[in-house]
């Protein structure tokens, strides 16, 4: 990969989709900050727990990088760290698997569609949030033999809140891109 180019075009048919690169350490720093906020802020504001910042980062970087291999590895890394911070009640791999799949699909979709518009980002975040919850539910039921509710009002609210926050967060993260 030629690091001299900040961005380059991915040609799919007639459309030109820009593949974005980020400043050095930006992805790692954003991940650490997201995990820190995810574990710290709910101590003071319990309702903050409805946000899944690691998931939003997985979706954003997947959509931006537009490389399925990068997307799935990034999703795996973020999910694995989230598993590690979730303690013994959450086995390593639960969120790792879910975010691996989300990262792969996000980058695959990002390579085919222009996902820069806020409405597209909102819709994709809702879909990926639902998919993420579904995968976690399947793993909990099938592999961990834990009773898991497929749908709750909290999930619906969570999807909406995460999508709204995601739109603004993604605009903020856009600033980390190389010009």
């Amino acid at each position: 990969m030629n690091e001299a180019y900040n961005t380059y075009d991915l040609r799919v048919g007639e459309s030109h989709i820009e593949v974005h690169k980020f400043r050095g350490g930006a992805i790692a720093a954003a991940t650490i900050v997201a995990l820190f906020l995810q574990t710290s802020v709910p101590v003071y504001f319990p309702k903050f727990a409805v946000l899944d910042l690691p998931l939003l980062l997985t979706i954003y970087f997947g959509l931006s990088r537009r490389n399925p291999s990068t997307g799935l590895l990034l999703g795996w890394a973020i999910g694995f760290l989230q598993d590690s911070l979730s303690g013994p009640t959450v086995p390593l791999g639960l969120y790792g698997i879910a975010k691996t799949i989300v990262g792969y699909l996000a980058s695959s979709i990002g390579a085919r569609l222009d996902t820069e518009h806020p409405i597209a980002r909102f819709a994709l975040t809702v879909v990926f949030f639902g998919l993420h919850q579904f995968i976690v539910g399947v793993i909990r039921r099938m592999l961990l033999a834990q009773p898991e509710t497929w749908f709750t009002m909290r999930m619906l609210i969570g999807a909406g809140v995460n999508a709204i926050v995601g739109v603004f967060l993604f605009m903020l993260l856009d600033r980390l891109r190389k010009n």
Partner: protein
Amino acid sequence: MVAIPSRHKSLVLLAGVILTQVLLLAVQIRRDSQGRLIRVWTVGAVTPFERAGASGIGGIRGAWNHYFALQNTSRENERLRRENDTLKLQLNQLQSRAAEADRLAALLNFRQAHQNVPMLGARVIGTSADTQSQTVYLDRGEREGIRRNMGVITPDGVVGKVIESYSNTSQVLLLTDKDSGVGAMLAESRIQSPVGGVGEPLLSMKYVPNDDEVNLGEHVVTSGMDRIFPRDLPVGTVSQIKAGNPFKQIRIRPAANLERLEEVIVLLSLQPLELKKDAGTPAAEAVGKSAPGQAKTEKP
């Protein structure tokens, strides 16, 4: 070697990564694992930020409450509000002192009743990254003597128990977690039944037969049968009762404010805590009753 078409490489990678993690899950499920190195490393890397964040957020919140939040008001409103704030502050201080006196009295009573139990105050510095599990991190760990399965309380009541202990931090499973539980009994009738979490703010008391009388608002206390908590610590109050088959469906509102924990007390003892010796009391007699089950043990 069979060459993999480049367009399929990412799919192969996806399958490989997922398969690896599924195997990892399988290994964990099969074993009753101790704390893993990745957890130790990750917690060790993140908790310094959480410590800094805890003090930073406190400073920011203080600055906001004492300066910025008072901006954009007229002088008259400012004067009236300050006067009002002063009165509120005095009232809050009085209420706070009264509440503090109650808490200290409860703590003093507890310490007098269990003088042989060493205790340690700790501050909550973080929560679980998993939105569904109810755990918190404390700023004290193995160096201060905290070990797994030690009980954690506040002066208001039971909080949970330690499930992991690192060098400088420890992780506590709250009563509201689905995998949590404590040996408990109704304070008045002395009916025993374990109380556990269901992943919601209210707890569940599962093994009380329909024939037994339970009243709304009745206090629930620890039975001491789980060998973690001493007897008669507040667990909560009965807030819902429904008939079930064959047991009542009883929901308990926790005595401790588990949604806004800031400081807790860790019971520094792994030995079964001794029950009171006055065997003639109703509580002691209630302990002798057969309970349908003991406190649940959480999955590792």
